[in-house]
């Protein structure tokens, strides 16, 4: 079955994580994404993990995840001939996504005016750490520094130690999701009105959006104190409990408290009116910890999970990656997918973030090898002749 974006063409000049993750969203829903890589390839090809820890431009575990369903052509957009290729592709495309520092595309005469001149319906999405405007637009950034400035960082860790970041490079992925969203909305607008436009995406703002509820809490009442509660916040039940084989995660409300007590075979605590609210339980915190800990320490995380869910209490295990891959729910839903990559062989990829009944998310092709589709795109679709291509290659414009 075709995806909902079947027939949509996206020219992807973006590099790294945020832009490619955005175009992956579009590609996995059916868009034809042509990835233009500068000579040497997308820098994400140099990011691990790699099999056996040996770097190889076609074996990056990160790159193969970020670039599913795309085709690759090497083009240097900073050269006149490369610019010409970009413009010829943009003329027939619905969207162009890029992630260069603000002003870079314009310096190559590939800014909005240049692109709109060949295709006024085009959606031009720019994904940058701080957005295209403002006093910080040219600052340098990494996931960690954006996490810091967005307050994403301050949310976790022990109150008396340094805050600790979410794993991986999540601000960039969050930026990518927002770029996909903005691009999609603009594609919809173009379909309705025939009007193209510029979509300016700030990864910093995307990270702030993910914590908007914290901003609003503080705006309404800045109660002071540390943003992060750490492992021992003043509450019962706590949010992490040790069990035989690891830890479980909890978030039990007052309404669920009696059920929690029943689950732990301590029903009498659930009937005590003084313990019905968090405030009352905090006053007897030590007593409750002593009473409930033995039950947890005599169960495995899977046992606690199943028992809690039978009682309608939201508790879940802290799983290893191996346990996630083997989890019965993910297995039952066929979530993780395998496909064959021409260099890596069989690879495992995360599955659909959404199930669409009529136009499914689909892995049609693995991440492209560098310049894999030069011939079919430059010759087959743009009509360059073999000797043109040789000349371009000799100039270093293409791969």
């Amino acid at each position: 079955m075709p995806g909902p974006l079947d027939g949509v063409r996206v020219i992807d000049l973006s590099e790294g994580i945020a832009g490619p993750f955005a175009t992956k969203q579009l590609a996995d829903l059916g868009a034809d994404v042509i990835k233009l890589e500068r000579p040497g390839g997308d820098p994400a090809r140099r990011l691990g993990p790699f099999p056996g820890d040996v770097p190889h431009p076609e074996k990056s575990g990160l790159f193969i995840h970020l670039n599913t369903n795309k085709r690759s052509v090497v083009v240097d957009p900073s050269t006149p001939s490369g610019r010409e290729i970009v413009l010829r592709l943009a003329a027939k495309a619905d969207a162009l996504v890029e992630s260069f520092p603000p002003g870079t595309m314009a310096s190559w005469r590939l800014g909005w005016d240049d692109l709109a001149a060949v295709n006024p319906r085009l959606v031009l999405t720019s994904v940058t750490p701080f957005g295209a405007t403002g006093p910080a637009a040219q600052r340098q950034a990494t996931d960690l520094t954006i996490a810091a400035r967005s307050s994403f960082l301050i949310a976790a860790g022990e109150p008396d130690r340094e805050p600790v970041k979410y794993p991986g490079r999540q601000t960039e992925f969050v930026g990518g999701l927002h770029a996909a969203w903005g691009t999609m909305v603009a594609l919809y607008h173009a379909d309705v009105t025939g009007e193209g436009q510029v979509v300016d995406v700030s990864i910093l703002e995307a990270a702030v959006m993910i914590s908007d509820q914290n901003m609003l809490s503080v705006a309404y009442w800045n109660g002071g104190g540390r943003a992060r509660a750490g492992r021992r916040p003043l509450r019962f039940p706590p949010i992490v409990m040790p069990v035989i084989d690891g830890y479980v995660s909890l978030l039990v409300t007052d309404l669920q408290w009696p059920r929690f007590c029943r689950m732990a075979d301590l029903e009498e605590y659930g009937r005590d009116p003084q313990l019905a609210t968090q405030r009352g339980r905090i006053e007897r915190l030590e007593e409750l910890e002593v009473a409930f800990l033995p039950w947890f320490l005599s169960h495995t995380k899977q046992e606690v999970f199943d028992l809690a869910q039978q009682h309608g209490v939201p508790i879940a295990p802290f799983n290893t990656i191996a346990e996630v891959l083997d989890d019965p729910q993910f297995r039952a839903r066929g979530y993780f997918r395998t496909m064959v990559h021409p260099v890596l062989g069989e690879i495992t990829l995360t599955g659909p973030p959404a199930i669409l009944s009529e136009t499914p998310w689909e892995l049609r092709r693995p991440a492209p090898l560098l310049d894999q589709h030069a011939d079919e795109i430059l010759r087959g679709e743009l009509g360059y002749r073999p000797d043109d291509l040789l000349a371009l290659r000799a100039e270093g414009v293409t791969g």
């Binding site: 520094t145 949310a155 979509v199």
Partner: protein, 437 residues
């Protein structure tokens, strides 16, 4: 049927029936509302949106009220509810009552999208699942956001975002290097489901424009998060190793960490991506002895403890923004770790008008963020504070469906609609649904 709201925006003309609660669902439809869709948030007086309060008067635990004061109607004063439901119309309907369901279905007939994030099976029980709605509106797009999906052994399981993150493998990786007991993070799965769902529903609307075809979409909280951590999954599937928590460090670059600054809970993040950036940092620190010794990445990786200690000693007496600006002037990525209140005052965000002010009748004027994307021709817009309980009952049920004033009064008498939640005991007795996230 004409719209009640005419706001500019790319999604102008799209009507969304928003049967959601808490975070993921309301935040998803807020994205749509900010792009011009007319979003009708359907609540009930029998069951509070958890972000209005755990119970009618249990406002204290949330700590999200203006000046931490409940006022006369605390359920109108929760900052998080008011953020996730801005720009929406608000109505009440008791879907446990046949008249409530009938009115809901009348609204479905004139809507483009229906969204829910209740536990799997809840819409079926209320008679408003996709199989029941499709016959009355064949091109409807219905979106559900259950915690673990509507199929599989966990379909009835209940969870908040942080349980989902633990189950999905992220929980064990959010930690200091070398430590075992996990650090709890925020309820992070919800906003990821929200932005994912908003994106996918517009893709489905795009498809519907071309084909006339509606569809059912399921966005499980457990399935939106793993794609954001491919490094961890690849590490295991390629190398058979459980990834270990790295704290704030980078296994491929040094210095790369969070360092202390002058003041309470003051920190700065510094990342040297290249040898040249590390050299410039060492020069700024006056550590000429490091220049040769730590010229290469292998040398810096081996000397990480000494380097981190030296950087920390250098940053400790300095003001965090001053350090970040000095390093940025030298082309090195560095930012102060912002507290939430500092984000509200961030000059970059203000220069881009990221926050707008909304005036809420029960709260007053507060700033709200205006999305991370700026569309040059059809920008997002914050234009209306969140609705008070049942604020638009007459506008929507009367204005769109033609329900008369007398009928509205009868519906109110039967507690199908209302403008205040029922007393807690009453509500608990009548409540029939469960939360997904």
């Amino acid at each position: 049927m004409s719209l009640l709201t005419t706001v500019p925006g790319a999604l102008r003309g799209i009507r969304v029936l928003d049967f959601t609660t808490a975070w993921a669902g309301p935040r998803m439809t807020a994205y749509l509302a900010e792009m011009g869709a007319e979003v009708i948030h359907v609540e009930s007086i029998q069951y509070l949106d958890t972000h209005r309060g755990w119970s009618k008067w249990a406002w204290g635990a949330s700590g999200n009220m203006p000046n931490n004061e409940p006022g006369r109607r605390p359920w109108e004063r929760n900052s998080q509810y008011n953020e996730f439901n801005k720009n929406k119309l608000g109505i009440t309907l008791n879907l446990a009552d046949p008249e409530g369901v009938a009115l809901f279905k009348e609204l479905v007939k004139i809507s483009d999208v229906v969204v829910d994030n209740y536990k799997a099976g809840t819409t079926t029980r209320f008679g408003v699942d996709y199989d029941q709605l499709k016959p009355i509106r064949p091109d409807i797009i219905q979106v559900s956001l259950p915690a673990f999906g509507s199929t599989g052994p966990y379909r009835d399981y209940t969870a908040w975002g942080n349980q989902v993150m633990a189950l999905c493998g992220q929980g064990l990786l959010l930690n200091y290097e070398g430590e075992d007991e996990p650090e709890p993070g925020g309820t992070y799965g919800d906003p990821i489901a929200a932005i994912t769902g908003a994106f996918v529903v517009v893709a489905a609307l795009f498809h519907r424009r071309r084909t006339g075809q509606g569809q059912y979409i399921e966005v499980a909280l457990s399935e939106v998060s793993p794609p954001l951590l491919p490094e961890a999954f690849a590490e295991y599937t390629m190398n058979g190793r459980q990834p270990v928590p790295r704290g704030n460090s980078n296994p491929e670059a040094v210095p790369w960490n969070v360092y202390p600054c002058a003041g309470d809970d003051a920190w700065v993040a510094i990342c040297c991506r290249t040898d040249a950036e590390a050299r410039r940092l060492f020069e700024l620190m006056g550590r000429t002895d490091f220049l040769e010794r730590y010229a290469t990445i292998p040398a810096r990786l081996a000397g990480r403890a000494e380097i981190d200690a030296a950087v920390a000693a250098w940053t400790a007496p300095q003001e965090k923004h001053a350090v970040a600006d000095r390093l940025q002037a030298a082309g090195i990525p560095a930012e102060a770790a912002a507290q939430y209140a500092e984000v509200l005052a961030d000059p970059q965000l203000h220069a881009r008008a990221f926050f707008t002010e909304l005036d809420h009748p029960e709260c007053g004027v507060y700033p709200h963020p205006l999305q991370a994307v700026r569309l040059s021709k059809s920008p997002p817009i914050d234009y209306r504070a969140a609705p008070t309980y049942g604020q638009h009952n007459a506008d929507v049920l009367g204005g769109l469906l033609g329900v008369t004033d007398a009928q509205l009064a009868a519906l109110a008498a039967r507690e199908v609609i209302g403008t205040e939640p029922l007393e807690d005991e009453e509500r608990r007795r009548r409540s029939r649904s469960g939360i997904a996230g």
